[in-house]
């Protein structure tokens, strides 16, 4: 979904209002925006800074610190692949290679047709069912060639 700048700002106002009087409101606001839009549009940061009485630099500093706050709209699907040790131990590196090959992109990229954003993640807590991944919030364990193919099919569908 694409939104014009001012439209986005007005769309985030309810999220800011919901949290601004709570303790430590910044992360809940950013998480709320991420949930709503799939990314944290940088044009909303001034509005957050104003509402919370912070400098824009402070807000930008926080946003840039956390891996989750992607700057650009993701693809229609988001595929996170675990690259940590328990998944490495079960052939996770090969699975990661295969997924990049099938989707034609590398980690951190979004497919040109906007179908998918591919991201690395370090542990999904599925270490006894490795290698693992998360597709649009749904967890997938024991990835093998069949499951990898199925993921690629679902993404292209």
């Amino acid at each position: 979904m694409q939104h014009a700048g001012t439209e986005i700002v007005s769309a985030v106002m309810p999220i800011i209002e919901r949290w601004k009087h709570e303790e430590g409101p910044l992360l809940p606001i950013l998480n709320g925006i991420l949930r709503e839009f799939g990314y944290v549009p940088r044009e909303v940061l001034p509005a957050i800074a104003d509402a919370l009485n912070l400098s824009r630099a402070e807000v930008y500093g926080v946003v840039s610190f956390y891996h989750d706050y992607r700057e650009n709209p993701p693809g229609r699907h988001v595929l996170k692949v675990c690259r940590a040790e328990a998944c490495q131990a079960m052939g996770g590196d090969a699975v990661a290679e295969r997924l990049q090959e099938l989707l034609g992109i590398t980690f951190g990229e979004t497919a040109a047709d906007g179908s998918v954003t591919l991201e690395e993640v370090f542990c999904l807590g599925l270490c006894a069912c490795s290698p693992s991944a998360m597709l649009d919030g749904e967890v997938i364990g024991r990835l093998d060639e069949d499951k990898v193919q199925e993921i690629a099919r679902e993404i292209r569908a």
């Binding site: 989750d68 040790e85 599925l126 997938i140």
Partner: protein, 518 residues
């Protein structure tokens, strides 16, 4: 008779298809018009058998697994609702050796009850600890926790009771209980399992902590990679609030305690307690220098107890059965039980709660059953990405904080990742350095720059460029990181790196094969 069918809603089970199985069972119930009720429980933690479906029969639970949606019609045909035999029949789950050998104190209910049913929780011993706590003075509660010998399960192993005492003794108008549910260590999932499988035990533990130290507000800082845990926790907190377990008067007492879940945003270092507090306050997750201790100046500058999920979830059983009961399990200065997470390339992966003292070999070879690939076990990493790699030669090390430290390792959050003989230890050492470089909060030069250098140096070593020189530099870097870092990210990354180098030197030697392959 209305039969109950248990199908886990635990992430691990879901990752293996539990949702599709649940749908297939619901469809079959409808088609056949049988009287049965589906309960979505947590996982027992026997992941090689998930999705494991259980039915309640007059003679106890009967388990079937691993169930695929296509197995469902045959389960009904075989009359599994009465616990009849079937190729997937596992018998009474409690008699499966992996479970029968455990001592489940913290995980007593996990996988048995409906995680958001308070009736289930109370029927299985829940809330007894909190009720006992309400009949004691604050100091008596803290003393019970101290006497139990409970040490922080987040990694550092600091005595929980002593931390609580410091907060109790610090006077302030507002104090906080913060639960560290960042569980960033690879190879670990105990926090996730208890939050998804028995969230009330964490809520109860936090309420007891609040009453003990005089805190009225609790936060659970949960990593964003755990959306299912978030869902279950929020459901459970709402149930608990409705029932008056948290709120203005905890179980009708004069104590107020309420809590909420706050999500992280993907940053390993935010599991470090002071970075976590910064993150909760809405800042970058930067590690703070200590002192001041969080117990004196924690969240928003107020006295704060910050404990790991398992530390807090172990408090109810201590308050229920008494400090001595808990302390009697274990060895040396490691008292009680520890939920060991057996992961990676292992035949029987899952959660194994046991008294401290099992040897690494017993855990990996006997309980874990060796590798999933059937190849020899070559290395195991214990304690997450900052933990050491252990070779078979050290498999007699007992699971105990001090015993692991004596072998230049750590227990950490008790995750064990098993690797077979195809593992390349140079690659694992490089990964440890790379992980540190990516996740560093940036405050200390040795951590931020040293780890990046480490990656470069190990890359040169892999190419066979001046190998002995590179090894010298790696050792040097590790030393600088170990002593020049503010927190354990920079300070402990040398553990995986140096253990790989020390115990598996053959992987770091210039190999003609390695060079030829370039």
């Amino acid at each position: 008779m209305m039969r109950k069918i248990y199908i886990p809603r635990d992430s691990g089970a879901l990752a293996l298809g539990a949702e599709k199985v649940a749908r297939a069972i619901a469809r079959e119930i409808g088609l056949r018009g049988v009287e049965a009720q589906i309960v979505r429980n947590g996982s027992r933690g026997l992941y090689w058998l998930e999705p494991m479906v259980e039915v309640e029969t007059p003679t106890g639970r009967a388990a079937y697994g691993p169930v695929k949606p296509s197995d469902v019609p045959s389960l009904f045909d075989g009359n599994f609702l009465s616990g009849d035999a079937h190729p997937l029949f596992l018998g009474n789950p409690e008699e499966i050796p992996f479970l029968a050998r455990q001592t489940r104190l913290t995980f007593a209910r996990c996988g048995i009850t409906d995680p958001v049913s308070l009736a289930d929780y109370e029927a299985h011993g829940g809330l007894r600890g909190l009720r006992n706590a309400l009949s004691m003075t604050r100091l008596q509660i803290v003393e019970q926790v101290t006497e139990s010998g409970l040490r922080g399960r987040g990694g550092a192993g600091f005595p929980t009771g002593i931390k609580w005492k410091t907060v109790l003794d610090t006077s302030a108008a507002q104090k906080y209980i913060v639960c560290n549910a960042d569980e960033g260590d690879s190879g670990t999932f105990a926090d996730r399992m208890i939050m998804e499988g028995d969230p009330f035990v964490l809520i109860e533990g936090m309420a007891i902590a609040g009453i003990a130290v005089g805190a009225t507000k609790g936060y659970i800082y949960l990593r964003s990679e755990y959306p299912h845990a978030e869902q279950v926790l929020n459901e459970a907190i709402a149930v608990a609030r409705n029932a008056g377990i948290v709120g203005k008067n905890v179980l009708g007492s004069q104590y107020a305690f309420d809590m909420e879940v706050r999500m992280g945003a993907g940053a390993y270092v935010c599991g470090e307690e002071t970075a976590l507090l910064d993150s909760l306050e809405g800042k970058r997750g930067m590690v703070r220098a200590k002192p001041p201790l969080p117990a004196h100046e924690g969240l928003f500058g107020k006295p704060t107890v910050i404990n790991n999920v398992i530390s807090l979830a172990s408090v109810p059983i201590i308050m229920d059965k008494g400090a001595a009961y808990y302390r009697d399990f274990g060895m040396g200065r490691s008292r009680g039980t520890i939920p060991i997470q057996i992961a990676g390339n292992v035949k029987h992966g899952g959660l194994f709660e046991a008294a401290f003292g099992l040897t690494l070999g017993e855990i990996v070879d006997e309980i874990g059953g060796g590798t999933a690939t059937g190849r020899p076990v070559r290395a195991v990493q214990v304690g997450g990405p900052l933990g050491a790699y252990f070779p078979r030669a050290l498999f007699d090390t007992p699971f105990d904080y001090e015993a692991f430290a004596a072998k230049d390792g750590l227990i950490g959050h008790a995750g064990i990742v098993v690797f077979d003989d195809t593992v390349d230890m140079l690659k694992q050492a490089r990964f440890a350095m790379e992980f540190c470089a990516v996740e560093s909060c940036g405050k200390c030069t040795p951590c931020r720059i040293g780890s990046t250098r480490g990656v470069e140096v190990l890359d040169r070593l892999a190419k066979g460029i001046e190998p002995s020189r590179q090894i010298e530099i790696v050792e040097d870097l590790c030393n600088t990181m170990k002593f020049g870092s503010l927190c354990a990210l920079g300070g402990f990354t040398p553990y995986p790196v140096m253990s790989a180098l020390t115990h598996f030197p053959e992987d770091f030697r210039p190999q003609p094969v390695r060079e030829a392959a370039e």
